[in-house]
Symmetry: C2
Subunit: 268 residues, 2 copies
């Protein structure tokens, strides 16, 4: 296996078994943890400017199999960020009201306003993942969704939102260990759900569905990142660094003070 | 001037001065009023089936200059329809929260659920009309909106919504008469707004903006209808007939009763 890109080549078929979920990029845990801290601090600064300026938004989409670390990522990456500037949306199975609209209706309502960081814990991609694997709608419906997603994400980007999508890639063996850890730890047992097992049973079908989403919705304006996620510390570093790099490109700055402010006298 | 189509030819430039706002299609007012009643009754029946079946939605978009009859159309066309199955949304100048999202964010929230008729009194088209005429955003922003609107409307149609867009076409002279009528009638004076006059001043600019919207967002899946609207009775007939015809194509029917219902005994 050669060097695997973080962003798969656009327009090319994605084979997930060519992406090793266990690599650490040559880092070691201690050095990576130090580096993560620096990025976290920088991310907190960038978020403040994003908020003050109110010109851009950031949408972070997190997808991955059960136990792949979506919740843990949110906790670790955004630890230093002021929660007032964040909007975290977790998408569960849709309600009957949501199902009576197009699949992007509930998603669109949760996109971040300018100045905000929005985080999707699962997302509109479930509508081409679990929905496809379990045939919840006919293929003629879900087939159209790849283009509909690309159109929707283009609207967001053209309206000032940076869209970063992360697939937290773990191996099937790693999932087994994490599920066992949940079962065996009384503090974690609440996280275990019997519903996770039938999903694990369809692992290969999910990988095919992910490969299609990673190929067909991988655009220059809203790229996918395949994050090696067996090692949590490396996963956190990769995601935080990617977000910081993307925000740096916006050349964010605090707004100029209004003219004449230097002459303001605050009366006694 | 030859026969003017209700739906302008798709992909062709629209010249509004080739569309006579004063025609009556050879109808006379009394006969048209009788015909309208029949269509209204049929529309009420179709709406009941739409609601009972819960498979499709209908979105009616109404656009037109001030006094072109948007409010009057809603009142006349949907007179017989059960209001429980309708969702009427009037779009005014956006709030600061709405402005901090993409222009379709507030629109998407108001689209009708399956089973419902949604009516937009003004719409996302204002974002390429008043916004363009008054340069509220740079051209590079509003230029992208035509494609964004087409993508959005395609999503709705592919998700089971029938989208019908009506431009209520009145002449500048007709508007003058209607504005004067508002001024001179104490019962109608509240409808007159000084803000209408600067808009009337830019009539030709608005017509150019409408022509572009009518050309660039006229699709086979969500067509525009240019409704001759100087005569209210003809306008009402054309719109009601168009809606009824579109709903007839859906082959709506009441859902089948559940099996075994014929054996149900209601206990004393």
């Amino acid at each position: 296996m050669g060097a695997q890109p973080l962003i798969p080549p656009i327009g090319k078929h994605v084979k997930l078994n060519e992406y090793d979920p266990g690599i650490n990029g040559g880092n070691n845990k201690d050095a990576a943890t130090q580096e993560l801290k620096q990025y976290q601090t920088r991310l907190a600064d960038l978020q403040e400017m994003l908020y003050a300026q109110g010109k851009h938004a950031l949408l972070v989409v997190l997808q991955g199999m059960d136990t792949s670390g979506k919740d843990g990522t949110i906790k670790s990456v955004f630890e230093s960020v002021n929660p007032i500037g964040m909007n975290i949306a977790a998408f569960k199975a849709p309600t009957s009201t949501e199902l009576s609209h197009d699949f992007l209706w509930r998603i669109h309502q949760q996109v971040p306003a300018k100045g905000y960081i929005g985080i999707f814990n699962r997302s509109h991609y479930e509508d081409v993942l679990v929905v496809r694997v379990n045939s919840l709608v006919p293929q003629e419906i879900w087939e159209k969704r790849y283009q509909q997603i690309n159109d929707f994400e283009r609207l967001l980007v053209e309206s000032g939102t940076v869209v970063l999508k992360f697939f937290l890639h773990i191996s099937k063996e790693e999932q087994k260990e994490r599920l066992l850890a949940r079962l065996n730890d009384p503090q974690k047992r609440w996280k275990f759900s019997m519903g996770d097992l039938p999903v694990r049973d369809r692992w290969d079908d999910y990988m095919r569905a992910y490969e299609d989403a990673l190929e067909r919705c991988n655009t220059d304006y809203a790229p996918w990142h395949i994050v090696p996620a067996n090692r949590k510390w490396y996963r956190n570093l990769v995601i935080t660094r990617t977000i910081v790099d993307a925000l740096e490109k916006l050349k964010l700055r605090f707004p100029e003070a209004a003219a004449g402010l230097e002459n303001v006298v605050i009366p006694d």
